[in-house]
Symmetry: C2
Subunit: 388 residues, 2 copies
């Protein structure tokens, strides 16, 4: 008997879950519905590139109609407003859906830590549309400066020195000379800050790699303020805990991630930052018919600490969820989620990067960049290959 599988979100986790499930089950087994806010899949790990004019928006956005073409997956372009797991029902802006099985892959939200003004006056980098806002905002600062030559226009702050913040600040650093040339503004008028509350950049990276990244970015003109929590943001100023004030019209906040409010509101069991708890099969606590994938949930590593939310984890979760749904639909044994961390590479703008592959191999420079590029190509081949 046909069951309905509703997958919420066509990010890394949801898309892979949908594509892999569609490959394994027939339409007799299941009706697969994929709900997404946009009509495209976003390459979220690459967003720092269009944000700094290093790629076109169209290069980090893949039309879902292409990815789903010929697949037994029905796309519903809508925004999820509420999940009622007891009633097995999902509410959308434009309607509602019932399900037999649900996959929640709604991603994360930005954590502002209650810092006054931060949410109101910062930009974030979680979608292609937001990347475009960042890029056009920075270009606008350069366009307005000749008419109002205050340093606020020429000072740019990236808050957060995690992977996103570091990759973004590196790409902006590479962009600045081009912006200066275009606008006939001397480079020394421009300040680019990376502000981080923790004592060092790239938490989770080995110290020597983080130090190398810092040195490369400093050479590109990035000024680091580490161990400097932001305590307040105003329309034209960022206040640091040490009393320092950076006058700027631009703060891009990448320093905090939390779970999805829809998951919290649905009553799923979560940790304090709103990420859902899941069992070894990635099922929500207490709901065998609800799977989770990606940044909206968390799993623990061998040391008992949560894995950081990354695309590679989301992809592997999507894959695991597809397998387990398959077992639900067609019978068979579920597989426990066993993440394989393949390494992490941080791009530093241009063709610079630092990273680690597997447990041991550390790399930097063009080779690291090449590995990053390869992992991107492998992913595109994966979602593209599944299209056959």
């Amino acid at each position: 008997m046909q069951k309905r599988v509703v997958i919420l979100g066509a990010g890394y986790g949801g898309l892979v879950a949908a594509l892999e499930l569609a490959k394994e089950v027939t339409e007799q087994d299941a009706e697969i519905i994929l709900v997404n806010k946009y009509d495209y899949h976003q390459l979220v790990t690459q967003l720092y590139e269009p944000a700094a004019a290093a790629k076109r928006d169209t290069e980090v956005r893949i039309p879902l109609v292409k990815l789903l073409s010929g697949k037994p997956i029905r796309l519903v372009r809508d925004v999820v407003t509420r999940i009622d797991p007891k009633e097995k029902r999902v509410f959308l802006q434009g309607g509602e859906l019932t399900y037999d099985y649900l996959v929640v892959a709604l991603g994360s939200e930005t954590e502002y830590f209650g810092i006054p003004g931060l949410k109101e006056y910062s930009l974030t980098l979680k979608s292609v549309d937001e990347a475009r806002l960042i890029r056009t905002h920075i270009e606008r600062c350069f366009a307005e400066y000749p008419y109002d030559p205050r340093p606020e226009y020429m000072t740019f702050v990236v808050g957060g020195a995690g992977l996103t913040g570091i990759e973004l600040v590196g790409e902006i650093a590479d962009w600045l000379p081009r912006l200066c040339e275009e606008s006939n503004i001397p480079r020394d008028r421009v300040q680019l800050y990376n502000v981080e509350a923790m004592p060092s950049i790239l938490p989770g990276f080995d110290e020597d790699l983080a130090a190398k990244a810092e040195a490369i970015l400093k050479a590109k003109g990035v000024v680091f303020k580490v161990g400097s929590p932001i305590v307040r943001v105003e329309p034209e100023a960022v206040h640091l805990k040490n009393g320092e004030v950076i006058r700027t019209k631009t703060i891009i906040w990448t320093g905090g991630v939390r779970g999805n409010q829809i998951v919290v509101d649905a009553g799923f069991e979560t940790e304090p930052r709103g990420r859902a708890k899941v069992n070894e099969y990635l099922q929500a606590v207490g709901y065998e018919d609800v799977y989770m994938a990606g940044d909206c949930c968390f799993v623990l590593n061998e040391q008992g600490r949560p894995y950081p939310p990354t695309a590679q984890l989301a992809i592997q979760m999507g894959s695991c969820v597809a397998k387990n749904l398959c077992a639900d639909l067609k019978g068979g044994k579920k597989v426990p989620f066993a993440p394989k961390i393949l390494g992490t590479v941080a791009s530093l703008g241009g063709r610079d990067a630092v990273g680690k592959v597997g447990e041991r191999y550390k790399t930097s420079g063009r080779i690291a960049y090449f590995i990053k590029d390869l992992s991107q190509i492998r992913y595109l081949a994966k979602i593209g290959g599944l299209m056959k």
Copy 2:
């Protein structure tokens, strides 16, 4: 005995006057001082291209240090605030200069005809910096629209259907599909208007060429409102005389040109729109030591009507002024200004254009575009060639 020649403005007229004079006189004859607000010469006739992202800003801007290198011309980068022709003195923001001979080539200003709100809420296209403001403003509208999907963001109005307005609206029309693709916004959400008070577009062009231009632009999606004077502008609305209101965040005003206020304030004899009257040698009325060149003055054609202000006229004036200054400095006969109108071509975006070469030859399409390109290359060769 060395005389001091001060040239105000390094636009088409001033630059050509300076370069040609420097070629003919020695440093014993004259000290040549060129005063300019920017450290570059602007290809003002090309500004519609960077305004619509068809060229980079650096392609319409030539560093004066390059053009003047090795020439006996001293560049003073400053802004002219006042001319006192009786005292033979020029006041700058950063100082003052005396002169024996003065060339006023300060260009024109925008005429707003007293239309309420037009000056406050419109953009203009008279410099590279203004082109950048237009470009980043339009891109910003596309970036903000997904967050505030009101038609005001997707409606663009070019006021004025003279050469500048038509070339700009054509280039924007060509840009829109790319902007829509980049932003994932359907083209049919976007409206592009050209609003003109006169009953037809491209005044001064033959009727059949204007009609052809209108047809080409209509096919690109431009909506014309001719015979529709603007009566009032608000931050998000353009009111037409017929009562129609266009809701928009973008009005670019190209519909009026007047002389330079500095010329008026100096007490030079001008026509009602502030352009200086000159004699056949391009000397200001009553001042044999003051020459005028370019849009800040006017000359009459054979029918007794003023020639429209164009780059080709400014270039020829600069050349004539250089010859007459040469006669002043080294002796010889002055030459009367005898303009040769070589034709006019209006670009319509992409490789479309319409135009007239000489008195008879009418052209359109790629050939017209090619002729326009050639005239640009000839000019660059002229100012570049004078550098040898």
